[in-house]
C-alpha cells in the first residue's frame, strides 16, 4: 500500500476535509450534522470513521480545538468572557468547566501563569534557555534583556 493509490483514499480525504472544516470554523455555531454534511457522510458513519482516525469523536475534537484556541487568547491577556464567546462557547460556566477538565486549571489561573512566564521571558529570558546554547550564541554576555523589548 503506498502513494496515492491506497485503498479508500477518497474516504480519508473526506475525513480530513471535515477535520480541517472544524479547524477553520470552530468559533461558529457548527453542529455534527453540518460537519457530516461537509464530508458527505451519514452522521453515524462520520462519527465512527472520525473516531477511528483521530481517537476522538468530532464533538470531542471540536471542544479540544476551542480550548486550544482559547489558550492562545488567554496568553494574549484578553478578557475571559470575551474569549469564551470568541472561540464558540455559549456559556462561561461550560467554558470554564471544560477548560479545567482538559487542562487541570481554570482559565484565570492559566492566564495568570502565562502572564508570569511572559514577564519572566522579557526580563530574564536566560532562565528559559539551556546555558550551553546561551553561551554558544553569546547571550550570556548581555545581562540586560529589558532593553531588547
Amino acid at each position: 500500500m503506498h502513494g496515492e493509490n491506497y485503498p479508500k483514499v477518497y474516504l480519508y480525504r473526506r475525513i480530513v476535509k471535515a477535520k480541517l472544516f472544524i479547524d477553520e470554523n470552530f468559533a461558529g455555531d457548527i453542529d455534527l450534522d453540518h460537519i457530516a454534511d461537509e464530508a458527505f457522510f451519514s452522521k453515524f458513519h462520520f462519527i465512527r470513521l472520525f473516531k477511528n482516525t483521530y481517537a476522538k469523536t468530532p464533538h470531542q475534537y471540536l471542544t479540544v480545538v476551542r480550548i486550544e484556541r482559547s489558550k492562545l487568547l488567554l496568553k494574549d491577556n484578553k478578557p475571559i468572557a470575551e474569549i469564551c464567546y470568541a472561540v464558540g462557547f455559549d456559556s462561561i460556566s461550560s467554558f470554564t468547566g471544560l477548560f479545567k477538565r482538559l487542562t487541570g486549571q481554570t482559565p484565570s489561573a492559566y492566564q495568570q501563569l502565562q502572564k508570569k512566564i511572559r514577564e519572566e521571558i522579557k526580563t530574564t529570558p536566560l532562565k528559559h534557555i539551556p546555558n550551553c546554547f546561551a553561551e554558544m550564541k553569546g547571550w550570556t554576555q548581555n545581562s540586560n534583556f529589558e532593553e531588547v523589548h
Binding site: 503506498h2 502513494g3 483514499v9 480519508y12 482516525t53 534557555i129 553561551e135
Partner: protein
C-alpha cells in the same frame, strides 16, 4: 544517570518561516519564543503530546557557534536536504499525510509499508527531512 531528552536542535534557514511551518502546518505548540537582541531569537516548539520535549529552531548565524564560512556551509547543507533530524509519529499516517499535503507540506516519499513499519518522508521549509511513522495500534 540520564533519564530523558528535553531539548533537540533543528537548524533552520529562517525562524519566521520555520515558525509558520512547525506551528501552523505541523500543529506544534510554541514552548518559548524569546527575542534576544537585534536579529536574535530563542524559539522552541513541542509536538502536541510532548510538551516537555523542546525542538529548538536554531538560526544559522556567524557568531560564536559558526564562523562566516561554516555558517554559509551549514546553510548550503541544510537547504540541500542533508539532515534528517528525527522520526515523528502519528496515530493515522494516511489521514496525517492527506492533511499535511493539503496544508502544503512537501513529501519526498508518500506513505509506504516497509518491513520496519508504515512510513512517509517529508521536508520542512528549510530542507530538513523527517520520517513520519504510524504508531502501532
Amino acid at each position: 544517570m540520564i533519564t530523558r531528552l528535553n531539548h533537540v536542535s533543528i537548524f533552520v534557514l529562517n525562524q519566521d518561516s520555520a515558525y509558520d511551518f512547525y506551528v501552523n502546518k505541523l500543529g506544534f505548540k510554541v514552548h518559548t519564543d524569546a527575542p534576544m537582541g537585534p536579529g536574535m531569537r530563542w524559539l522552541t516548539v513541542c509536538p502536541p503530546e510532548q510538551p516537555e520535549l523542546e525542538l529548538s529552531l536554531m538560526s544559522i548565524d556567524a557568531g560564536m557557534m559558526f564562523t562566516k564560512e561554516s555558517a554559509e556551509a551549514m546553510r548550503k547543507l541544510v537547504s540541500a536536504g542533508t539532515f534528517g533530524f528525527g522520526v515523528f509519529e502519528c496515530n493515522d499516517l494516511l489521514a496525517t499525510y492527506e492533511e499535511l499535503k493539503a496544508k502544503g507540506v512537501e513529501f519526498t516519499k508518500p506513505p509506504k509499508q516497509e518491513f520496519y513499519g508504515f512510513e512517509a518522508l517529508f521536508k520542512d521549509d528549510s530542507g530538513n527531512w523527517f520520517s513520519l511513522g504510524q504508531k502501532a495500534k
